[in-house]
Amino acid sequence: MKKYLIRRILILIPILIGVSMIIFALIEAMPGDPYSDMIDPTVPPDLIEERLEAMGYFDPLPVRYVRWLGRTLRFDFGYSTNYGAPVSVIMLNRLPNTLILGGFALLFSTIVAIPLGIISSTRQYSVVDYIVTVFAFIGLSIPAFFFGLLMIRYLAFELGWFPIAGTGAGAGYEGVRMLLHRAHHLVLPVVVLSLLSLASLMRYTRSSMLEVIKQDYIRTARSKGIKEKVIIYRHALKNALIPVVTVLTMMLPSLVSGAVLTETVFSWPGMGTLMIDAIDNDDYPLLMGITMMLAIIIVFANLLADILYAWIDPRIKYD
């Protein structure tokens, strides 16, 4: 187990280097220099040139990459050209909002999807199964941001059930009222962001359960006269959930991507809207910081998935 862990962690190094190289090259390929938007046009071009020279803007790409990597390893992501503040500070300001949104979305989709998946597998081809399947197809097919826009149009504008945008922070409430107020703002974004993961998790749980129910040990349990409930929830579910755990962590990249669109639709001040800001303002240090941060989160989530998988399923060989 220890050997497996060490090897698995060592693999992360080339992956992270590869990811960062590609992101770095892409951002360097973007047009404009960091000053092109912020400097007064009356400043003589020589001076700009000189400043850019001084910050190493004209060095060859590999040199700049190594320099960037060195700084990043010390958690120094540089200064945002747009906000005039350290990138790390800006990101730490926004990160909690995205974590709240993503965390609740993950929680919500798990709580809803796994029971629905179980029910639909234990009653394969029943009406319930049919409804759940069609619902899953709809969830997989509707663009989440379009679904969000529909929610805003009908539930927020028309019926007035939910606020239209924002996190609800800074409304001046305190204590429980503040929590309720913020929870109220959270409902629509969480539902919208959960939609895709909810649908795919439901499908995975269903097919994984169907697979397990066919196995011999379930038949043995049935022939011993064990109650169906015990068979399903004690014997089958444990094994069926093993692949579901991996799927759960594998959904993280799409959750992160979905967060960008969901945050845009609901004007949610998180990492996603921050990233779009950074693109619009040619704020390269900030953009670089955000993409790297998200990539690191995903890579470590994958690591966590592999470790969990190996820990839950003793059949996995470690070498």
Binding site: G18, P143, V260, I279, I290, T291
Partner: protein, 289 residues
């Protein structure tokens, strides 16, 4: 009396029979056909051009024989939805072709040769899979410019990993079988074995996953164009027509400007998913009894 003749069924014929029995898949295929026909021929039938602006009709709703009203610059929505279908479908199909070619080539090299080539390719797969793909696509599109061609290429370049993994896994088990040994004994070289004997055997999963990739490519295009980083206007796509809905006024007052393109994306992706699912059940005899 005539003897009962048993007709031989090829695997493809069996698959076709199974597919036709699947109601949702057939429904999806019909819907997809209608949408494609509408996108190809529809724009020729409407009385407007996609870029034609009627200043008097700005933000006017549906009226009389005009089914879907006009956008904020007085362009006919129905014409643009039909026209946008051409672009959105083309992006989906071309991006998927790019992804499939890369996936099949790299997947079969990794699976067949193994060793260092497998190691390098699989690390590359790991790298691409740990990308926040939507964010990379957004950055790439900001870097290279939001054109139709770039959007196709970018979506293709980040969507090949699933196909590569499936092809690799299939070839890994296929190459141990006797018929590969036999063809080697007959003097075929590696490339011929891969091309003539292995890839045709992997065709079923390739078809299934390519179909599903089209669906995800259309969704990614829509998302990118929605935030202004996919195909840029005035070329209409379903995604960039939805960009109008980034304004709350439009969401609240002008439903005809953003709900039709959104529904088109939904129905297209839904029918592709139905077809893909039907294909999976039809082509994989192991899955269903």
């Amino acid at each position: 009396m005539k003897k009962n003749e048993v007709e031989g069924l090829s695997p493809w014929k069996i698959a076709k029979r199974r597919f036709v029995k699947n109601k949702l898949a057939v429904l999806g295929l019909i819907l997809l056909g209608v949408i494609t026909l509408g996108a190809v021929f529809g724009p020729m039938l409407t009385p407007y051009e996609a870029h034609e602006q009627q200043m008097m009709m700005r933000n006017q709703g549906p009226q009389g024989d005009n089914l879907l009203g006009f956008d904020s610059t007085g362009r006919d929505i129905l014409t643009r939805v039909l026209h946008g279908g051409r672009v959105s479908l083309a992006v989906g199909i071309v991006a998927t072709s790019v992804a499939t070619i890369i996936g099949v080539v790299l997947g079969s090299i990794a699976g067949f040769y193994g060793g260092i080539r497998d190691g390098v390719i699989m690390r590359l797969v790991d790298i691409v899979m740990s990308f926040p793909f939507f964010i990379i696509a957004a950055v790439a599109s900001a870097a290279f410019g939001p054109t139709v061609f770039n959007t196709m290429l970018i979506i293709g370049l980040i969507n090949w990993t699933l196909i590569a993994r499936v092809v690799r896994a299939e070839i890994l088990s296929l190459k141990e079988q006797e018929f590969v040994e036999a063809s080697r004994a007959l003097g075929l070289d590696n490339l011929e074995i891969i091309r003539i004997h292995l890839i045709p055997n992997v065709m079923a999963p390739i078809i299934v996953y390519s179909t599903l990739t089209i669906a995800s490519a259309i969704l990614i295009e829509a998302g990118l164009s929605f935030i202004g980083l996919g195909v840029s206007p005035p070329t209409p796509t379903w995604g960039n027509m939805l960009e109008a809905a980034r304004s709350l006024t439009t969401i609240q007052n002008y439903w005809w400007q953003w709900i039709p393109p959104g529904l088109m994306i939904f129905f297209t992706v839904l029918s592709i998913n139905f077809v893909g699912d039907g294909l999976r059940d039809a082509l994989d005899p192991k899955l269903k009894e």
